[in-house]
Amino acid sequence: MRGMTIIVRKITQLVAPVIFLYGLYIIVHGHLTPGGGFAGGVIMAGAFILPILANGSILPNLRKEEAGLELMESAAILGFLIIAGLGLLFSGSLIFFSNFLHKGILGKLVSAGFIPIENIVVGVEVCAAMTTIFIALTVFSEEVPK
């Protein structure tokens, strides 16, 4: 895929970190304000997609990136299950997905038990999935079959 002009590339360099930070903010404050793992994950995926669109891409580099993204996604799903299983072990009530951590005060950043951790895990999972789909559909489809 070809890149774009230098104006677009420079502005992408300035804007992409801000988008990434905004996605992180949405994920971490998911239990207080609108947002959460799904919204923040998709926004973070946008922060990864923007540089690829602006700078163009070389296929071998993207293959490496795709392998890493798959690892990230699988690890996130595993983490989600492990958190659920920890609830089974530590809550004392033998319930899958039971909220075993301390609840805290309603409205504070560190509160709501394990909901922020689950938010982060789901955010990573959605981000990796969206970026992989984008890379597969836009870049791999340019390959010519033999």
């Binding site: 309603l106 409205g107 959605v126 789909i133 489809s141 079959p145």
Partner: protein
């Protein structure tokens, strides 16, 4: 009531596209339109007049909230919708590479 009926009309437009169009991309677009109409219908059901968004705040302690259950269900449905659309597009690309066309009447030699 008129809103429900318009939502239903949007669903029927998607159905019309799926049945009559021959182009694969148009069929995928129609499926996505059907999905959007159903998402909107769920949220329309859960709306309460004069209610606020379901977020507990110190200032509005005794406010009435919109039904949060349909919102939670549609939140997952939107992301799954993007994934299924991407899967359909991937199949469409493969078919285009093999047959050189998006016409579904020419892609009928899937025997053996």
């Amino acid at each position: 009531m008129i809103l429900f009926i318009l939502c239903f009309v949007l669903f029927l437009i998607g159905l019309y596209g799926v049945v009559t169009k021959r182009n694969l991309i148009k069929i995928i677009i129609s499926i996505a339109i059907m999905e959007y109409s159903i998402n909107l219908f769920f949220i329309l059901i859960g709306y309460i007049k004069g209610a606020t968004a379901p977020i507990i705040n110190d200032e509005v302690q005794a406010a009435v909230f919109v039904d949060p259950l349909p919102q939670a269900m549609i939140l997952t449905a939107i992301v799954i919708g993007l994934a299924t659309t991407a899967l359909l597009l991937a199949i469409a690309i493969r078919l285009y590479r093999k047959y050189g066309t998006f016409d579904i009447r020419k892609i009928n030699s899937l025997k053996g």
